[in-house]
Subunit: 153 residues, 4 copies
């Protein structure tokens, strides 16, 4: 059931974001896409900041959320209907001002109905993580969804 | 250490948001502020929506996050430096299109260094919650912070 | 899909525990079973204690876990195969020595494949919760499971 | 504040468990202790099993909990008073019958008052994790506690 090859590469994933999530697509870039790990970049701009210049909690949540979603898509193809059911996130350090946030994400489980991913978030250039997150996604019935969406990409 | 009276009412809390979090202040309204419970409204607009018209996960996270923050401030006064350390959130139902989200929040613990709040989020007009969340905040040394900030409000 | 009546009452649930979870059944008692809420008691004994006489974290986790499980069974009948997929738990206060722990649990969602319950845990006689927990259960295909198990109870 | 050397090795940690947590000490063995990672073994016996022979959720929670605790002690020395404030745990696969559970744990943060650790749990001999967990511990004032306890070990 779990493919150990990539169903979508970085370029395909970015096209998918542009097509389906235009509103936020410009915020995120895929720095690395392999079977073992994705690195997703939050291109930090004013809208992501709290007073004092640090990246806001909701912006880091959004990054973790999209990163696990993209990790799932990279393995099973463009299934627009996967939805987040749970997230646990720990904010551990203040992000550096003026730095992008990089999210290192890997899938721990990719089951028939549930997928679990875990994320470490870093201010670019730092090795101590600013946050960690784990997310569960519910995945719709696979065969039909993949079939009907693959043609689009 | 825990005050069982309100340190800030709805009007004070909204002035605080306007002063300290101008960027997001217009998104949130306080519908109810009591010692036992706050109700915080996310005034849903296009920027909060996912394709299909439902409110996005990050928007609901942001609502839960600000709601617990405001609940803490309502009890201890304007401490701008309290920071979220953990959030667990469950997304349980699809929000109704075209409806604001109401967050019912109460504090379960208000300690010297940690506070824990829990939230139920509803699409306005529905009784089945769309999400639940629990958050922990770390609170800076109290006396100094309160003293230096109270004058501002 | 969701029944708003009880499928099992306190006596049926206790018989189910005795039959299926003999090893832990003596630890738990059902103090209240209604559609809106269950109250499950951890009958605290030496094996639940940490040095110093307070109830251990794993014992409180076990109480929250079984409580949500029983809440699900109370609504859908004896489905022995429901499994916990996620738990978030906050330990907020030190339990009182020598007191049972009461878990107040309610279901926030009872879907076709996932159920979410939330718990507040109290040392008996105290009104400030010692812990809160939220749990997600994955529920196996319903009709077959209920049919094959109902006869047993 | 964070030591990047070990304050306690495997033998010291096991002596600490024997001295302070006699009731559960026999359940746990330290397979590996380095600055970067600990591997803690749950020596599975009948008391850890659910009907059907798989390791119970509370037993896996207990393993994750003690593992993060030991990871903290390995860095700051024997501080018996550190307490768990939060745990998020995902149960992802059914543990293998008849196999010990190995918990791979590392500290993501070791601050003055809070520490965060993350765990992956495996049935021995399998590479797909059965569970993941992240835990936050609150650490008492350090200097006094370390001073008064170090002599004991």
């Amino acid at each position: 059931m779990v493919n150990t090859t990539l169903a979508m590469d970085a370029a395909s994933l970015e096209r998918f974001l542009d097509a389906e999530f235009l509103q936020v697509a410009e915020d995120f870039t895929l720095d690395e896409v392999t079977v073992d790990r994705l690195v997703v970049r939050l291109r930090v701009s004013d809208k992501h900041l709290r007073p004092g210049g640090t990246v806001s909690g909701p912006s880091m949540f959004a990054l973790a959320d999209v990163s696990v979603y993209l990790a799932i898509l990279s393995r099973i193809g463009p299934v627009a209907l996967a939805v987040t059911t749970n997230c646990s996130i720990d904010f551990m350090r203040k992000p550096a001002a003026g730095a992008d946030i990089l999210c290192h994400v890997r899938l721990l489980k990719l089951g028939r109905v549930l997928a679990v991913g875990e994320c470490l978030l870093f201010s670019e250039g730092n090795t101590a993580p600013v946050a960690r997150a784990s997310l569960t996604y519910s995945i719709p019935a696979r065969d039909a969804a993949v079939a009907s969406n693959t043609a689009k990409i």
